[in-house]
Structures are given as C-alpha cells and as structure tokens.
C-alpha cells in the first residue's frame, strides 16, 4: 500500500517533502478550523491570511538564494523598515511639493526609489561579504542595527501617515483587490499558463527521447493545479466587501445601492498577485538561468564553482542585491497594507523570513532549497500565528509554539533527508 502510494507520487513527479508540507498545512488549517468553530477556513480569514503572508513570502524567496549560497541575511526586517520610512516620507513630504498632493505618479516614483534603494543597500552588504570577506552573519547583524537606527532618523521617530491612496492599493485593503471579473481572468490565464507549461515540458522531453511520466499522471497534475488556482479564485470571490465599501463602489459605478445590501466580491488581493509574479520570476531564475544554476552550484561546493570559472564574489553581491530588491517589494506591500509607516515596521521580520525558508526545506548547510517551499513555509508560519491568535492563545505562548515548530520542522527535514539519501 505504502509502496503503491509512493509509485503514484513518483509518477506525478511531486516530491515527498512538498507533499509533507502541504499535508502539515492542511492539518494545521483543519485543527484551527475545528477549534475556532469554523471561523478559520472562511473566505474572509483566508483572504486576510493570503494578504498577511505576502510580505514575508516575497522576502523568503530571496532568502532561499541567500541561504543556499551558505549565507544569512539578518538585516531584512530593519531594511524593510528603513525603505518603508524613506518611501513614506518621499510620498508624503517631498513629492507632493513638486507634483501636487495625490498626483497619479507618486506611487510609481516611490516604489521605484524604494526598489533602487533596496538593491543598492543589498549590493553594498553583498560587496562587504563577497569582496571584503566579512561573514554575512556579522555584516547583516550590523545592518540590522544600522537600518533600524536609520529608519528612526528619517523622521526622528515619527509615524508617517496616511500614505498615498493609490500606493495603499498595493497592500490589498478593501480597494486593493481585483474584484470578481479580473480575478477570474487571472485565474484563467494562470491555469492556461500552467497547462501549457506541462504540455511543453512533456513535448521537449519526448523530443529528446527521455522517459516521460505516464499520461494519467500529467492529467492528474494538471487537474490538481487547475483545481487549486480556480478554487482560490472562487474563495476570494466569495468574500464580499463590507457594507460601506460596497456602497461607495455602487456609487462610483452608478448602481443604486439596494436596501438589503449588495454582494461585491473582493477577489484576489493585489499583494497576492505581486507575490505570484515574484514567485514565478524567482522560480525561473532559480531553475532556468545561469545565475540560478551558479547560486546552487556555489552552495553545493564553493570550490568547485570557483574552479569552474564562476565568479563567486560577484555572485554574492548579486544574491544580496536581489535580496535587497525583494525586501523593497515587501516594504511596499507591508507599508501599503498598514497605510502608515511606524518605527516598528518589519521588526522581527528577518526571523520570520528565515524561518519560512527553513521550514520550506532550505538547508542552512547550503545548496538545497526551493522557492515554492519557502512560500509554503511562509503560509505555514502565518497560519500558525493568526490561527493561534484566533483561538485566543496568549502572545507569549504563541512565540513558544512557533519556536518549537521551527526546530521540529527542521528536525523532521533532516530525518527525511537522511532516509531519502539526498
């Protein structure tokens, strides 16, 4: 029975670790749903969960590369705070002076400046690590203190609020969603893209005369993916806007607001779309580019990479620059979601991000890790936290549980790897 199971899994081509993570996540959701009397697995909570996860998940994809190359980045939380603070000041205190308050381009300029800032700071830290050979732990520990302090300095500790209204849409509030029709469109496009990818991969493999999976396995895989994508759209569309927002929406569209309310769907939140794009790009980078290949080769054996002519120092700079850019994207999402930037923005995020990557199967010894794993890791972390909050677990106990789960997850991963011999 077990063997038959394994054969099926092997044929579909999903690795057991991924299955284990999804199993753990589903179990977690069921337990929370039962213990909250069915409040956990509601469209509303799943919507919030996906929005809350986005920021950490975006950063965790970059942390995979950092950890795979045997480094660590402890500065991402503080850097997120600093970039958020700069972006907030820029769009509230500086740009309106030149462009006028609420100008349409403010959000774009802000985001681009944030992205540049993140990339440059990341590259700078990477340069110290790669070329000056100061250990990443030290450089980014220093970075944690430096950027947290710098964030305070930008506004002398004042909270910046309220952020530009277009910018706030990137955080996925009531207005920051796609609505029902666009969500369906995205779902359709994603489904078609997934199916085309599966078909093309199969054709390529058979062109080279390699063994391909049995046809039923391809259908099964395509079916599961389609179900997941469209199921997600259905759930997000099942979450209606609150009354006030629905009323405003109706007025804006020129529809009369009926007395018994109007069902306007949230649809997929914009930060989730951002995460989706980041996830796809990062997966392609990891698997299909030379850069990605060198990241993994360097993590597996730095000497071999060096002897193969790979410039591992420059690679380190690039990896940290990428981490910085992703931190900036996360800063956009996190600050836009709150609509304000306070001094505590991103506090302890570095640990959440590292935990997400590690729970997702990234090995601190280097060379091993996946983008999807890190994202699932981030969802697991966030589910655990918001689930416990809903159940009413005391805050100190929440920390204890998260800490224990982190160690346990890595232990299970080590045991699995020893058994599977990979």
């Amino acid at each position: 029975m077990k063997k038959a199971m394994r054969n099926v899994v092997g044929a579909v081509g999903i690795d057991l670790r991924l299955l284990g993570m999804i199993g753990a996540l589903v179990l977690l959701w069921i337990v929370f749903d039962l213990s909250t009397g069915g409040r956990f697995m509601t469209p509303r909570n799943l919507f919030n969960l996906s929005v809350q996860t986005a920021s950490v998940a975006v950063m965790s994809t970059g942390m995979v590369f950092v950890i795979v190359t045997r480094h660590i980045d402890l500065s991402v939380g503080a850097l997120l705070g600093f970039i958020g603070m700069v972006m907030g000041t820029l769009q509230l205190n500086i740009l309106p002076e030149y462009l006028g308050f609420g100008h349409w381009s403010i959000w774009m300029i802000t985001a681009v400046v944030g992205l540049l800032l993140g990339t440059i700071i990341g590259a700078f830290q990477g340069w110290i690590i790669g070329y000056l050979t100061v250990p990443a732990f030290i450089v980014t520990l220093g970075g944690l203190l430096v950027w947290r302090g710098a964030a305070w300095w930008v506004t002398q500790g004042q909270t910046v609020a309220p952020l530009d209204s277009t910018f706030r849409m990137l955080g996925g509030g009531v207005e920051g969603t796609l609505g029902s029709q666009l969500s369906w469109l995205v779902g359709m496009v994603a489904t078609i893209a997934a199916v085309v990818t599966i078909v093309l991969a199969r054709r390529r493999k058979s062109n080279h005369g390699f063994n391909v999976k049995p046809l039923w396995a391809e259908y099964a895989l395509g079916g599961i993916v389609t179900l997941l994508i469209l199921g997600y759209v259905v759930i997000m569309n099942a979450y209606p806007l609150p009354k006030g927002a629905a009323k405003r929406y109706a007025e804006a569209q020129g529809i009369e607001y009926p007395a018994d309310g109007l069902f306007i769907s949230h649809g997929i939140a914009i930060p989730v779309i951002i995460l989706l794009v980041v996830a796809i790009v990062m997966t392609v980078v990891a698997q299909k580019t030379r850069f990605g290949r060198y990241v993994f080769a360097t993590g597996g054996n730095p000497d071999a990479a060096e002897l193969s002519g790979i410039n591992t120092r420059l690679l380190t700079v690039k990896v940290f620059a990428l981490m910085g850019a992703l931190t900036a994207i996360a800063a956009v999402i996190a600050s836009a979601r709150l609509g304000a930037v306070g001094n505590d923005l991103g506090v302890l995020d570095e640990l959440r991000v590292i935990a997400a990557a590690v729970i997702g199967g990234t090995a601190l010894s280097g060379g091993i890790g996946t983008i999807y794993g890190a994202i699932i890791g981030a969802v697991i972390m966030q589910s655990l936290q918001s689930g416990m909050a809903m159940v009413g677990v005391d805050a100190p106990l929440q920390s204890i549980v998260v800490g224990v789960v982190l160690v346990l997850a890595v232990f299970i991963d080590i045991v699995y790897r020893r058994r599977a011999g990979v």
Partner: protein, 251 residues
Amino acid sequence: MNKQTPLIEMKNIELAFGGVKAVNDVSVDLYPGEVVGVLGHNGAGKSTLIKVLSGAYKADAGEIFVNGEKATINNPRDARAYNIETIYQTLALADNLDAASNLFLGREIVNRYGMVDDDAMEAETRKIMQRLNPNFANFKSPVSALSGGQRQSVAITRAVYFNARILIMDEPTAALGPQETEMVSKLINQLKAEGIGIFLISHDIHDVMELCDRISVMKNGKLVGTEKVDDVTDDEILAMIILGKKPTKSK
C-alpha cells in the same frame, strides 16, 4: 629527442605562500599524445605546480607556453580557453546538482531566450557517457548519490567533453576500486591515442610506471629531475621521491 613543439612548457615557475616556497624554480613540459607523471610526497608542491597551470593559483614568477606561444593564465576560465582541462583529486563537483549540471557547470547550454536548457544538456551527457562509461545510468540524482567511480566518470567526462588538448589529472584513481581504476587506465590510453597531452599527478608508483611516458619528480618545491620511464627502475624513482637523488646515468 622530440622535435615537435611542446603542448605545454612551464618555465621557472615560482609560487610562495607566506614565505614558504611551495614551488621553487620548476620547469616541466608536455608533448602531444604523451603522459607525464608528476610525482612527489604530499607537500612536495606537485598539486600547487599543476594548479598554476589550471588557473587556480597565479604564479609569482615564471612563464607558461602553450603550443610554443606565451600564455597568460589568471583564472580557471583562461585555462579552459587554452583547452586545458583539469580533473581534481577532490573531483570538484557540486554534490547537490545532477551529472549534466556538473558536466556543463560554467558552460551551460542555453536556448535562444538565454534560458538554461536542461534537457539538451542531459541528452549530450547521455551521448558522451555512452562512449566513456556505458554503465552510467543515473542522470536524475544529485551526484552525491553516485558511487566514487560514477563521480569520477562525471569529472572525466567534463574534462573530455569540451575538446581538451591538455588534461591535468590529480590523483585520478585515489578513491577508486580496481575495476574503476582499470576504466580510468583504459581511458587515459584512449585519450593519448587521440593526441591529447596528459599531466598525471600521483604517488602510486605502479600507476605511473604503467601509464606514463616520462616522469617529473618534485621534492620540497623543487624539481629533482625529469626522466623517461623506460630508462629508470622503480627503485630509482623511489630514490628520487624520497631522497631527492637523481639516478646515475650510467646505463
């Protein structure tokens, strides 16, 4: 003796690590279709000398000629450009990657969009493995899951695939069983017949007597001497390695 231009000529190479001269005024050469053994104790400087040629180290002094022309080798990429390929004792494989990724590491096949084409690389790997080690079948697993001989196959294939003219083999049989050693010996003879020049670094005398045409012996960073294998006995080689004594040219 040989009137051909040497494939490689290393002249008066010197390299010091923090005051210790690991290689001290050493000159060696290599002709097409020839196997030259570089012998010596651990720490005699043979690996260091050869790493200068492969681009892993940069010499403090001395010159390298490839086909009679002065060559500048500053890093492994330069060496590869001169068709100098190296198989390191440690194999220098990324354990977490599969055979094809290792074979093409640093020289990946990309499609027209600049994306790494794994399927094409696997097809090429299958092709060349068919020639060099037909028993090799494990193309999907990371090389950490392979046996010593299979890993060696990957390392050798990598060197041979890219039209090596000069091959450096650092202890190629150190980690292998008898059967696999036999395979490597066969391969060396095959490559030799194709006109490739091989530097073989070893401290196994029998290996050397069987495979090499000439030997260059090093001791304490200096060259003791270079001899034709047919002109010397096992004992004389041992004397060179251990005592640093050149054989008397009486016979």
